[in-house]
């Protein structure tokens, strides 16, 4: 990625998420507006190989002029994200990772927001009013499960038959 595109991406990240830190040295523009981070050795090695499918890690995609961070992108910049970030509870993070929309207590002004849950960085989602629709790739979604195994009285109270 050339210097001008890099500067532009840094500017967009600062504007959208308040990220001030410098981007890693090797950035690669791949298909569908996706940007990947790689080690310089990986990039150099890839140039001498055949049948290259991908290099490095997908971290951000530019959608309608706004940067949308992948889960690894938010992990990379986790502590540097200062704005347009929502804090989720553990239950909300389970819903988020199963790609279910998450209801927030307040409206968000930005179209895209990043999500955190304690120390976990969960990627980005599209905000619409007080709801956020997470961008979780299909292969990465979890099927929803209760956080804890229900206890015997809870299962009995839930009307589970033949439960002693």
């Amino acid at each position: 990625m050339d210097a001008a595109k890099r500067r532009n991406l840094e500017r967009m990240l600062k504007l959208q998420y308040g990220i001030e830190s410098r981007l890693p040295s090797t950035l690669i523009q791949s298909g569908e507006g996706k940007i990947r981070v790689a080690t310089p050795e990986a990039f150099e090695t890839a140039r001498s190989l055949r049948g290259v499918h991908s290099v490095g890690l997908y971290v951000v995609k530019v959608v309608d002029g706004a940067p949308v961070l992948s889960i690894e992108g938010t992990h990379l910049f986790c502590r540097d994200i200062q704005q347009n970030v929502v804090e989720l509870s553990h239950e909300q993070s389970e819903a988020w990772m199963s790609a279910s929309p998450v209801q927030l207590k307040m409206h968000t002004a930005s179209k895209y927001v990043a999500a955190r849950s304690g120390p976990d960085c969960l990627g980005c989602g599209r905000a619409a009013g007080s709801k956020v629709f997470p961008y979780i790739p299909r292969w990465r979604r979890i099927t929803s499960q209760p956080s804890f195994e229900p206890t015997a009285p809870q299962r009995a109270a839930a009307g589970e038959k033949n439960y002693i």
Partner: protein, 312 residues
């Protein structure tokens, strides 16, 4: 669990390999495989993950031969369906399948080739061993499997990985003498992991093992040819048949005079030396430096591992 069907040829070979012990091996294989996870230290430290999973009802006990892996038990929930798994904090990986990378022991900054990489368990394990530095070239020839490889390297956060899709046998044509270390985790008849699927045991034949060993020999030669002088290759299969293991390594030693078998020093796991003779064929005297890991020795999977250096 009812004792599953085993092909007659495999029963005969196991009897030859393990006189008086094959029943113990089969009894062990009739039990389900214990689940284990590898902590992805690129994203989280082991103590934090263990604490998080323990509070949710799982019991984790350390795997003795790998300090960043745990056996998992104690909850009916699927360990593959947690937020932590989706975030790439851990990888579900058989405990013995961690050993080939431990044997190769790639170091930070090195140039590493995984010639049969999909679905990426060992690639991502190597990624954390080299701490996301240098480069790991992960190759596979099958597009479907490449997708799984790509997903797993992304989930585990590898920035030093180049994924290629070519026939691994052709790799030396453009990458000869290029790598510090190479892993050849070759396709095999999978008789060491029949606890996962008994189809491998009921369909096994010597003919099938011979046929697949032709591919294994070519892949091992290709992996060796990609090594820099002084580099090291680990050859591993989850098969127990000598045709796919010692015979394959022996063929490399004959074809490449610069190939030297190395000792494997592993702690916490019960291993046995490779066989030096099989059905009338005698192998290189150093073949006892290779290791066999039988399922009933560690209540886990079965593997064969050999480490070969390329002399300067």
């Amino acid at each position: 669990m009812a004792k599953p069907r085993l092909s007659e040829e495999l029963r005969e070979d196991l009897g030859l390999l393990l006189p008086n012990e094959s029943d113990r091996l089969l009894e062990c294989c009739s039990r389900p495989l214990r689940e284990s996870i590898r902590v992805n230290t690129l994203k989280i430290d082991k103590d934090s993950l263990v604490s998080r999973l323990t509070t949710r009802g799982w019991m984790l006990t350390p795997v003795p031969w790998c300090d960043y892996a745990c056996w998992v038990e104690g909850s009916s929930r699927d360990i593959g369906k947690t937020v932590e798994h989706a975030l790439g904090y851990y990888y579900m990986q058989g405990a013995v399948s961690l050993v080939p990378v431990e044997a190769l022991d790639p170091q930070p900054g090195e140039k590493v080739l995984d010639i049969c990489a999909a679905p990426g368990s060992k690639t991502t394990q190597m990624g954390q061993k080299v701490r996301n530095t240098g480069v790991i070239v992960a190759n596979d020839s099958d597009l479907k499997r490449i997708r799984a490889l790509s997903s797993n390297t992304q989930r585990c956060g590898l920035i030093n990985c180049v994924i290629t899709r070519v026939d691994g046998r052709r790799f030396p044509m453009w990458a000869g003498n290029m790598f510090d270390c190479v892993l050849v985790d070759a396709p095999c008849t999978a008789t060491g992991i029949i606890r996962k699927s008994w189809a491998a045991a009921s369909n096994w034949s010597r003919r099938l093992a011979r046929r697949i060993s032709m591919l294994q020999r070519s892949l091992l030669r290709a992996g060796f040819d990609c090594l820099k002088p002084g580099g090291e290759v680990v050859y591993a299969t989850c098969s127990l048949s000598p045709e796919e293991n010692e015979e394959t390594v022996n063929q490399l030693l004959q074809a490449r005079p610069k190939a030297e078998l190395l000792d494997l020093k592993l702690q916490g796991i019960r291993t046995r030396p490779g066989v030096t003779e099989w059905r009338g064929s005698k192998f290189d005297s150093n073949m006892a430096k290779t290791i066999r890991i039988y399922p009933h020795d560690n209540d886990a999977e079965g593997f064969f591992i050999a480490k070969v250096a390329k002399a300067n």
